[in-house]
């Protein structure tokens, strides 16, 4: 599902990320661990095609993301990858439903309100569909972010520090949501974090 070969990323004359080789099978849930500045977010950006590495290759679902032209990389990311970001959650000026519709449209799909309702109901936030995204609570926004990541049934879900800002109770809930919904749509889950509270939940780990 995910294959990394000889990956290196330099920034301002120094190497900020180096992953000689790493593979993740379809449906696996893996943790990328490391202190702040160790290159976790850079790794996710490279996998998502948001950054071009200095050397090496990344293959996702058989497609070598690092060799795709920018426009195809954007389209591939929209269709096959779901992202959950630490604080960069939602477009606040529109409704929760519109946030999910936006993800569907940018993936080149028809708006599918039935799928949106199904995902929101699965996350227990069906009543928030019409709410303005900028006016919901942090916990609710976290769920909406997960809903948006899975709404297009991606092959790979990348989560960047999804729990570091949460207290213990909410941390456990957020992680459970991610694991449960990644499994529900058959996606591979990659969580980048420096939060040691969740390391035991993952059998596979990559230490940076």
């Amino acid at each position: 599902m995910l294959e990394i070969r000889g990956l290196r990323h330099d920034y301002a004359g120094r190497t900020v990320l180096s992953v000689p080789a790493w593979e993740v099978a379809h449906g696996d849930a893996c943790l990328v661990l490391g202190p702040s500045g160790s290159g976790k977010t850079t790794l996710l950006n490279v996998i998502a095609g948001l950054a071009t590495p200095t050397a090496g290759s990344v293959r996702v679902a058989g497609e070598e993301v690092t060799r795709l032209p920018p426009a195809q990389r954007d389209a591939f990311r929209a269709r096959r990858i779901g992202l959950v970001l630490q604080t960069l959650h939602l477009i606040g000026v529109v409704s929760v439903r519109e946030n999910l519709r936006l993800a569907q449209r940018l993936a080149g799909r028809q708006v599918d309100d039935a799928r949106i309702d199904e995902v929101l109901a699965g996350l227990g936030i069906a009543k928030l569909a019409g709410a303005r995204a900028g006016e919901i609570s942090v916990g609710e926004a976290q769920r909406v972010a997960v809903a948006r990541a899975v709404v297009n049934r991606p092959s790979l879900i990348l989560a960047d520090e999804p729990t570091s800002a949460l207290d213990d109770a909410n941390c456990a809930k957020a992680l459970a949501l991610l694991l449960e919904h990644a499994a529900a749509c058959g996606a591979t889950l990659l969580v980048a974090t420096h939060d040691n509270r969740i390391r035991e939940r993952f059998a596979r780990r990559l230490e940076l």
Partner: protein, 390 residues
């Protein structure tokens, strides 16, 4: 959700700033649109009303005043001239026609013009109903006079002395409406036309009443006359000759100074609006850089982000231009209604001035260029570095 809807949502999320930017732009556009409409219609009217007359011969005084009073019927005359003296001055083969004009009275703000049948020919006026004045104290009335006062053939009207409504009424000398003129789109639509003899008859008791007229409206038979006749009359008689084309051009030049000043004011207003739009978009871009990064993570291309920023600016621009044109036309129409109430210049907002399309395109083009800088910034925004910093 499409880019345009998202742009609209961003604008709607900052209603005050959006309204301020659109209003500033609208005020600039409205001012210029208003000036274009009014000056275009004024020029059109001056040209249309002046066109049939090549030269006006009247009493000495201001030539602009002579033209305004006898051609545009918008000022008091410079005085009277003797009929015989005037006829002698135009007894010249270079003169195709000379139409007498005797002014002095008005009917509810509409000038009563003592003249002959050739006056109607000057403006291409035809009778819609009734007949031309055949006897003294008969009059034909312009279409606007008939419409505004509900007059029909056979109606009786009474003139007031002077050219304002407040003058003493000539109750003892009523006119009978013998005919109604069809609309011409010229000044004659707003006039009451009678014979010169009727005007003399009304003023028989007046000490100054002598066989005098206010002016002669002359048409040349040859263009050569323009070079010779005015000079000859001005040099050899006690009268003055003035060219409507020349004097109305001079008048427009005088008006033009004020119009130019107002246009510069409007341009400064629009430049401020463009600057404000630029600042608003740039600061919105800064506030929204994480939203843009998020859109990139969802698969939006750099071009989509530029389009989003551009769409936001263009929505504001189009709103401002539409609002501005509506305001400009509304103001011109309101002015037209006010002036119509005073029986004066017919100005309407329900028409387009030729420069308005250029105005709209220029504002949209300059505004779009203003939006281009933030749009380019959005295009080159780097989501990866932004995400890595968080």
């Amino acid at each position: 959700m499409r880019i345009a809807r998202l742009a609209f949502a961003y604008l709607a999320s900052r209603p005050l700033l959006t309204a301020l930017n659109a209003s500033m732009l609208a005020l600039g556009v409205a001012t210029i649109a208003f000036l274009l409409l009014v000056t275009h219609q004024a020029e059109e009217r001056l040209t249309r009303d002046a066109k049939p007359v090549d030269l006006v011969i009247g009493a000495k005084g201001s030539p602009v005043q002579l033209i305004l009073s006898t051609v545009f019927h918008a000022d008091i005359p410079t005085g009277n001239i003797g009929v015989e003296e005037a006829r002698a001055a135009v007894a010249n083969p270079m003169v195709a026609s000379a139409t007498p004009v005797a002014l002095g009275d008005s009917f509810r703000g509409h000038r009563i013009v003592g003249t002959d049948a050739s006056f109607l020919d000057l403006y291409g006026a035809k009778l819609a109903r009734g007949a031309l004045f055949a006897d003294e104290m008969q009059a034909v009335i312009g279409s606007e006079v008939a419409r505004r006062h509900g007059l029909a053939v056979g109606a009786t009207i009474t003139g007031s002395h002077g050219l304002a409504q407040a003058g003493p009424a000539h109750d003892e000398h009523p006119y009978v409406v013998s005919g109604l003129l069809a609309p011409t789109g010229t000044v004659i639509d707003r006039l009451v036309v009678t014979s010169v003899e009727s005007v003399w008859h009304v003023h028989e008791h007046h000490p100054a009443a002598r066989p005098e007229i206010t002016a002669l409206l002359v048409r040349y038979s040859t263009p050569l006359a323009a070079a010779m006749l005015p000079r000859s009359i001005n040099a050899t008689t006690a009268m003055q000759a003035a060219s409507p084309a020349y004097e109305s051009a001079r008048l427009l030049d005088l008006i033009g100074v004020g119009v130019d000043t107002l246009q510069w004011f409007a341009i400064v207003l629009m430049a401020s609006a463009a600057l404000s739009l630029f600042i608003a978009l740039t600061s919105a871009l800064q506030e929204r850089r994480y939203d843009l990064a998020l859109l990139r993570t969802l698969g939006a291309s750099p071009a989509s982000l530029a389009a989003l920023t551009l769409a936001e600016g263009v929505t504001l621009l189009v709103t401002g231009v539409i609002l501005g044109l509506a305001l400009g036309h509304g103001a011109a129409h309101a002015l037209g209604l006010r002036l119509a109430g005073a029986g004066s210049w017919p100005i309407t907002g329900l028409t387009w001035a030729p420069g308005e399309a250029v105005l709209a395109v220029a504002v949209l083009a300059i505004g779009a260029l203003t939006c281009l800088v933030p749009a380019i910034q959005a295009y080159f925004s780097d989501p990866a570095s932004l995400l890595a910093k968080r």
